[in-house]
């Protein structure tokens, strides 16, 4: 569905939350900014659908991992900024670890000789 023809990587369930938390770690960011950061940090491999992004943000807000506040954007528009909470940081740590264990295990299986 994207305008560019890069190979598309489907996000696993739950990984979007992890990405959002990671992107918010340095500081508050608005929804569009989050999508852009993920796009850039993944070297344009990942593109977050808006249809997934905003429900995810609201879900995470509801879980107290992030909190939202309205503020002026870089181009002086009113925008909703999301900030990671203490609970969110804990969640990030836990998920990051889990993710590495998973990928390592996956790699081991996929790279095994037979």
């Amino acid at each position: 569905m994207g305008t560019n023809s890069q190979p598309k990587i489907d996000l696993l369930q739950g990984t979007l939350d992890l990405l959002i938390l990671r992107v918010l770690q340095p500081g508050p960011q608005h929804g569009w900014g989050i999508a852009q950061r993920i796009h850039l940090l993944s070297q344009e491999a990942l593109r977050v659908e808006e249809g997934s992004l905003y429900p995810a943000l609201h879900r995470m807000e509801n879980k107290d991992w992030i909190e939202a506040e309205w503020g002026p954007s870089e181009n002086n528009r009113r925008a909703k900024f999301y900030r990671i909470t203490a609970a969110g940081r804990r969640q990030l740590e836990a998920e990051r670890e889990g993710w590495f264990r998973l990928t390592e295990a996956m790699a081991q299986v996929l790279n095994s000789a037979s």
Partner: protein, 895 residues
């Protein structure tokens, strides 16, 4: 902070929906603008940039929906929505709703009423200090002469003193004896229920006087000024709530006593007693073998009943060694106070509770089966919903909510109904039946509300699970095709409905059979031959005669002669007699069992001598009560204090003591303690009368009895009996009172009675049980009938097509009718069998409440089954007949 944040978010979600939508929209707008800006920056022309941004975005509405779903209030809102739709859906079928609501509310109202009755008996602790530590002690003869029942007796004062000195298990002990007394209150002398109690009884029970002090040990000493404690009600009513009552002197039983205290409002002990005097026993050593008192004790902390029993047994053996004459064959019984005070109520209470539980179960099943039947007609609705993507969970939730709304409303209604219910039950109880107003306080409060809420919850779960279980099985496709009856799920549903009908019928049969047994018990009780004719006999008691004028036996005899003569002159009075005690109208302590010796028979040891029930009667007593004189003669006026001592015995006495030989002319000696000094002369038996029921209608085999003439053995408390033309107690009492005042105005009349009412009162408990159970079972019968009719009606409606085909193929309407009725009766018959089985299995629970009818009486069981079967037959016939009137053409065309 985060928690508060989330709360704010949800509150905003609930109340500020449009604002949240706006914020979401603004967030999206910002996002789109940023996207457009990015495309512009990348060099796309404005139009293209805008299109690209929007295309990637998808529909805003869809996003908004998905975003909203993430807010948890959505779930809440769905519940609210479903709740409203449940209420609406119930409102769409007002007949169904009204019937189910009313039947559930009635069932729960009955449940709440019964619970309010049994709660203080079965569950709530007694309103005393640590009531579980209180025990009752009684003595029992271990070796009773042949033909005499072993029975728990009261306690001898001497034994009480030994126990108190030697025991290791009680923190406190007290004795008391209930007795009626006369008391001069403002303006009149009245007879009241009272008690003589040992000091420390009130403290042990944990109740303190509100005015003045409790009895102390010095009140029990013989030389001390006589004291009395009065109850709050007596203080208010009889002494105008005189705040200076403490220290005042009042006249009790003709002697002055100083009031030392007033007990708190509502307190009465035992039962309704309102006036207490200290127990003065001048020479306790002489009271061995005189079992006259009730004894209560408080266990030390940590002492078990078993431990107390062992300790008392050891002490009892020691006393028996020291006083072999009186205590050789006496054992001590220790039981929890709760059990002795309320034990007789426990079994009927449990039966009532169980029965009302069954009523509620039948009501729940009835609602469930009606919901089910209704659910079938809504089958299509649910199938369409499922096809349109509504979750199955949502449909089940909807059904559950309907049950919840019904149950909650019924619970609230039922709770309020129980106020009327309790009042009605009290109307059924005769005033004179004492229900321990202090120990048993019936009230409708939080506990009853909680119980009702519990019933509502259970009914919601039962009805909800059944109908949800049904919905769970319904498949989308057959539902849409409307092929209800021939599909697998249709058959399953029919079996499911059959199960409900079976359970309903079984519950109703159990209730019907208990009610039937109770009704037969009542009929038996009403027909019991008392041995005398209680109809149209009224009377009253004289508790004590003023000691100054009536100190001697001849004085008392003369007084009662005058009473008999004067009362006999009243219009409508056929005959008058005086006696003590009177059958069915025993006063406290007036019953006396006495040992006796027969002249010419081998002398037995004291403890082996048999007992007989003793009564003092005036000439004409047997005639007044129409007790048949079997042999010899009645007492006459000539049998006075100067004449040779005589006695009359009853047939039970004659049979046991003399066998086939003639008792007339034989001489006996009674140890009649109650009479006078106990040194009785030899008495000649001059007559034999038929035996009667003494205590109550349900008395078993009569104990031997003997009668002494009033003039030779007057007693302090006597009862006056009048055989009248019409038995109108209320109509005659004013004249009786007036006559009595004319004879002596200081003599108080106590508790006027009509003997046939006394007979009825002695089974008041059975009658209330019978009436309640009759109500329960008729209600259950009605519910079962309605449930069956409803289920059959819906089944028939579902099978209209099939019936049409059958008719078209040549079946007669009679064939169809038989088919439908037979199929509907199958689960009913199964229910009958299960219900009868359950009745037989459970019948030992109510065996004790029955009289003259076996607990598994086949006739009663057969009638119960037949009644339910008949109702079920009618309930299935009516809707089935409607079905046979369908026109096959119309049905087939509708295809």
């Amino acid at each position: 902070m985060p928690r508060f944040h989330r709360l704010r978010l949800r509150l905003r979600a609930l109340f500020g929906r449009s604002r949240l939508d706006e914020e979401l929209a603004e967030e999206m707008r910002f996002h789109v603008e940023m996207e457009i800006q990015r495309h512009l920056d990348a060099g796309l022309p404005p139009r293209e940039a805008r299109r690209a941004a929007l295309r990637r975005f998808g529909g805003f509405d869809q996003l908004r929906e998905r975003s909203r779903d993430e807010w948890s209030f959505v779930a809440l809102e769905l519940w609210w929505k479903d709740l409203r739709s449940a209420v609406r859906s119930l409102g769409r079928s007002p007949g169904f709703t009204a019937f189910t609501l009313l039947s559930l509310a009635l069932a729960m109202g009955l449940g709440a009423t019964v619970f309010s009755l049994v709660d203080p008996i079965l569950f709530r602790p007694l309103p005393l200090r640590e009531p579980q530590q209180l025990v009752t002690l009684s003595e029992v003869l271990t070796e009773v002469p042949a033909g005499f029942a072993k029975l728990a007796m009261n306690v001898a004062y001497a034994d009480f003193r030994h126990w108190r000195e030697r025991n290791h298990v009680f923190a406190d002990m007290a004795v008391f004896v209930a007795e009626e007394v006369t008391c001069a209150t403002t303006g009149q002398t009245e007879a009241l229920e009272g008690a003589r109690i040992s000091a420390g009884l009130f403290a042990m029970l944990g109740v303190q006087p509100v005015l003045g002090r409790d009895f102390a040990e010095r009140d029990e000493r013989a030389g001390e000024p006589a004291s009395v404690i009065i109850g709050y009600d007596l203080w208010r009513r009889g002494f105008d709530a005189d705040s200076a009552i403490v220290g005042r002197s009042i006249v009790v039983d003709g002697r002055p006593r100083t009031v030392i205290g007033v007990m708190p409002a509502g307190f009465g002990f035992p039962s309704v007693a309102q006036i207490w005097t200290p127990l003065v026993v001048p020479s306790p050593e002489n009271t061995h073998g005189r079992f006259a008192f009730k004894c209560i004790a408080r266990l030390k902390p940590g002492v078990t009943l078993e431990l107390a029993r062992r300790d008392l047994a050891t002490i009892g053996e020691a006393i028996a060694r020291e006083h072999p004459q009186t205590n050789a064959h006496v054992a001590v019984w220790v039981q929890s106070f709760n059990k002795t005070a309320l034990g007789s109520f426990a079994a009927p209470s449990r039966t009532l509770l169980g029965a009302v539980g069954l009523v509620n179960l039948v009501a729940c099943l009835n609602v469930a089966s009606l919901l089910l039947a209704r659910g079938l007609s809504r089958h299509r609705e649910f199938a369409v919903r499922a096809a349109l993507g509504a979750g199955r969970w949502r449909a089940i939730r909807q059904l559950f909510l309907e049950c919840a709304v019904l149950s909650a409303a019924a619970g609230i209604l039922g709770f309020f109904l129980s106020f009327a219910g309790l009042k009605t039950v009290f109307l059924l109880v005769p005033d004179e039946v004492s229900f321990h107003p202090f120990l048993l306080q019936f009230e409708i409060g939080l506990r009853v509300f909680g119980f009702t809420a519990g019933m509502a919850l259970v009914s919601c779960l039962v009805a909800g699970l059944v109908s949800a279980g049904q919905a769970m099985r319904s498949d989308v496709l057959p539902g849409l095709k409307e092929a209800g009856s021939n599909s697998v799920s249709g058959r399953r549903q029919r079996r499911w409905r059959g199960l409900l009908v079976t359970a309903e019928a079984a519950g109703a049969v159990v209730l019907l059979s208990i009610a039937g047994l109770m009704v037969r018990t009542l009929r038996n009780l009403e027909r019991v031959d008392l041995g005398f004719d209680a109809r149209r006999v009224i009377g009253f008691h004289v508790i004590s005669l003023p000691p100054d004028q009536y100190g001697t036996a001849p004085q008392q005899a003369r007084f009662y002669d005058t009473v008999c003569a004067e009362l006999a002159k009243l219009p409508g009075v056929r005959s008058v007699a005086v006696a003590a005690p009177v059958p069915l109208e025993m006063l406290q302590g007036s019953q006396s069992s006495n040992q006796f010796v027969v002249e010419g028979q081998p002398l037995l040891r004291k403890e082996e001598q048999p007992f007989a029930e003793f009564a003092t009667v005036s000439p004409g007593y047997f005639g007044t009560l129409k007790i048949p004189l079997v042999r010899g003669r009645d007492f006459t006026a000539a049998d006075n204090a100067d004449a040779p001592p005589v006695a009359i015995v009853d047939t039970a006495f004659a049979r046991r003591v003399f066998g086939r030989t003639n008792p007339l002319g034989r001489r006996v000696k009674f140890d009649a303690k109650a009479a006078d000094d106990g040194s009785q002369p030899w008495r000649e038996i001059v007559g034999v009368v038929a035996e009667v029921k003494r205590n109550d209608v349900m008395d078993g085999e009569a104990r031997p009895g003997f009668f002494l003439p009033l003039a030779q053995c007057p007693r302090s408390r006597m009862s006056v009996l009048l055989r009248t033309a019409d038995g109108d107690l209320a109509g005659l009492m004013p004249q009786v009172r007036e006559t009595m005042l004319g004879i002596d105005e200081t003599v108080a009349l106590y508790r006027p009675f009509s003997l046939s009412e006394s007979a009825r009162r002695s089974y008041a408990g059975n009658r209330i049980m019978g009436q309640l159970l009759a109500v329960f079972s008729s209600f259950a019968l009605l519910l079962a009938g309605a449930g069956i009719a409803g289920v059959v009606a819906f089944t028939v409606a579902q099978r209209t097509h099939e019936i049409g085909v059958r008719l078209a193929l040549g079946a007669t309407s009679g064939d169809v009718l038989r088919l439908i009725v037979a199929q509907s009766m199958r689960p009913v018959v199964l229910g009958l069998v299960v219900g009868l089985g359950a009745s037989v299995a459970l019948s030992r629970w109510w065996a004790n409440l029955l009289y003259g009818v076996g607990r598994n009486d086949p006739i009663t069981l057969a009638i119960s089954a037949a009644v339910l079967g008949g109702v079920a037959l009618v309930a299935s016939y009516l809707p089935a007949r409607g079905a046979t009137r369908v026109d096959p053409l119309t049905v087939l065309r509708a295809e």
